[in-house]
Symmetry: C2
Subunit: 359 residues, 2 copies
């Protein structure tokens, strides 16, 4: 007998797919949607990442290709399945891209969320875990950042504003209607991959996160890693972030869902981070050490909108969710590299290759 049925939006993406592994292991049923805007589909419209999840867990997943902007498609899924709760990952998430295409970001992220909330209300489904981000804090006024830190001030990019706006909406709807039972999780910087090597980050959009870029350099596909800003007021001059293993994020979502089901929260917010700041250069050095590769890099001007130092105080999640990150920076690098070398072309290879790539 399963726990309850979770509707997962953006479930074919990086964080969503890893989270589904943990949801299935914890006994949840999942209904997954994705629009393949930033995830890989196979020849029959299947979500490649979810095939791997099925391999890892031995369970099957109900999947629909569905864009949240298509409200009637969303409604049809809620009409077909008895959905108990929702985890909303679906969003476009590139900081740089969001500055170039603000209207696209506002449209996708805000309307997607509004459609989902309306459909949930319509079907009497009030439990939601929302993917927020540490970007809602803007430039930190103190470190480590707790959930009490102000939000919405000096947010330097449109992506972060979409997350902030949605948090405000969630706060307002939960204030107006106490039936809502919502947790927003503010992720710090997700890295790593499933330890099996079968799953990982495979962005199909040109604006990539740092780990895929480091990997591309390690595999000889990019000549050099570009680091934005070497003159920050940090130990080595590069930006400092709180990198967190994607499998830790995944267990964080299961913990949040479990709390929502145990007791009514109305609206809560938790940081998901390790509490440790790591510079970009430290990340590169760790990657080189655990993988035995060399990553040539060049340091260029700071990038507009980037923040100098950002890391979490994650005590509240430990206290209330009973959750704490477990994986080290070394594991984030090892696991990502395993994924990358076993799947040099990500999910776009239908068979998993046992190769060490080009290095």
């Amino acid at each position: 007998m399963s726990l309850s049925t979770v509707f997962v939006t953006g479930g074919a993406g990086y964080i969503g797919s890893h989270c589904i592994v943990e949801l299935l292991s914890a006994g949840y049923e999942v209904i997954v949607v994705d629009n393949f805007v930033n995830s890989v589909n196979g020849p029959d419209g299947e979500a490649m990442a979810l095939k791997r999840v099925e391999t890892i867990t031995g369970k099957s997943i109900t999947f629909y290709e569905c864009d949240l902007l298509d409200k009637s498609a969303l409604e049809a899924i809620f009409a077909k399945h008895k959905i108990d709760c929702v985890i909303h990952f679906a969003a476009i998430k590139s900081v740089g891209e969001s500055m170039e295409y603000p209207l696209l970001y506002y449209k996708n992220n805000l309307i997607g969320m509004l459609n989902l909330l309306e459909i949930m209300e319509q079907f009497g489904c009030y439990q939601l875990v929302f993917s927020s981000s540490c970007t809602v804090y803007g430039e930190p006024s103190f470190l480590p950042i707790t959930e009490e830190h102000s939000v919405g001030n000096s947010i330097t990019n449109v992506y972060g504003k979409t997350k902030y706006f949605i948090e405000e909406m969630l706060q307002d709807i939960t204030h107006a209607n106490k039936k809502w039972n919502i947790i927003a999780l503010r992720y710090f910087n997700p890295l790593g991959a499933h330890p099996s090597g079968l799953m990982g980050e495979d962005p199909i959009k040109p604006f990539a996160n740092i780990m895929p870029l480091i990997s591309q350099v390690a595999m000889g596909r990019l000549p050099v890693l570009t680091i934005f800003g070497g003159d920050y007021n940090t130990e080595d001059g590069t930006g400092v972030r709180d990198y967190i293993h994607v499998m830790d994020l995944a267990t964080g979502h299961v913990a949040a869902l479990s709390l929502l089901q145990k007791s009514h929260q109305n609206y809560k917010v938790y940081n998901l981070g390790t509490g440790e700041g790591v510079s970009v250069l430290q990340l590169v050095k760790t990657f080189e050490k655990v993988t035995g590769t060399t990553i040539p890099f060049k340091i260029v001007e700071r990038r507009e909108g980037d923040i100098s130092v950002m890391y979490a105080n994650a005590d509240l999640a430990e206290k209330e969710l009973g959750w704490k990150s477990k994986h080290t920076l070394e594991e984030m690098c090892t696991d990502f590299w395993r994924w990358q070398t076993m799947n040099p072309h990500g999910y776009r290879n239908k068979t998993t290759k046992m190769t060490n790539g080009h290095h």
Copy 2:
């Protein structure tokens, strides 16, 4: 030969309809849409307020019943007409209602704006005047409020947040694409009516602004005016606002449009206010004096989300738009009362009655 063609959203509403009088007088063609959510339609789907505008100006108006959430209907109008610029009034605007129905407010106001921006971009139309509000300032940290005052902090209601979120979107899209030529007008508190007595405020939603409420009391339809909060730190303890005549707002929009057409602004924001703070009790006393009525009132607890004192510094609009409010508080009361007594049932009477109401 007309100037250019202005697409007016929410043009059958209170501010929109008064503004159209001034637009037509200035020589613009107008294409108007409204969804009649808070404006009165006649038996043949006509906008009652716009019939009066045609009477006053002797010009005819192209009108469509259209909800901005219906993007394809919006697209069809842009395909049919050569639209040069847009004034976007359409929004739901009740502070109290927005706290009860936040999802409705976010959906209507944000998606309406996003759809409009997308269609404008699609048709190469980049000139926009947006109806913002002084509520974006939240609790004032100094008075009178200039455009440099911080926005987005401590906004006490969802309606105000929708205006703030849209301002942020407009700022971001104009930053990303310099073709945009946008002015946001931050209204203070609109009062009054067209001096002809043929047009005025006729809310069909139950949450009403103060002037219609005062009028209802004056006409004997409400026994007493409820004033929220008598213990503010003001001269008489009631809240202080910057009331501005709706015909002054109307000329402010014409001035903004004229500036956009004369020279590229990218993005500008202006306060539209008189610069004078007036307490609720002062407003009531002025109304009694100029109309010869008596307004019984009772003072109750402060209302959640209300601000104590708020008035504009409107110097920037005078300097850059060449605009300044002209009408006095007495005129706001006289003109509203003329409208109300000539039309005791607002636009819902097909014939204009020459009556003095019930007082």
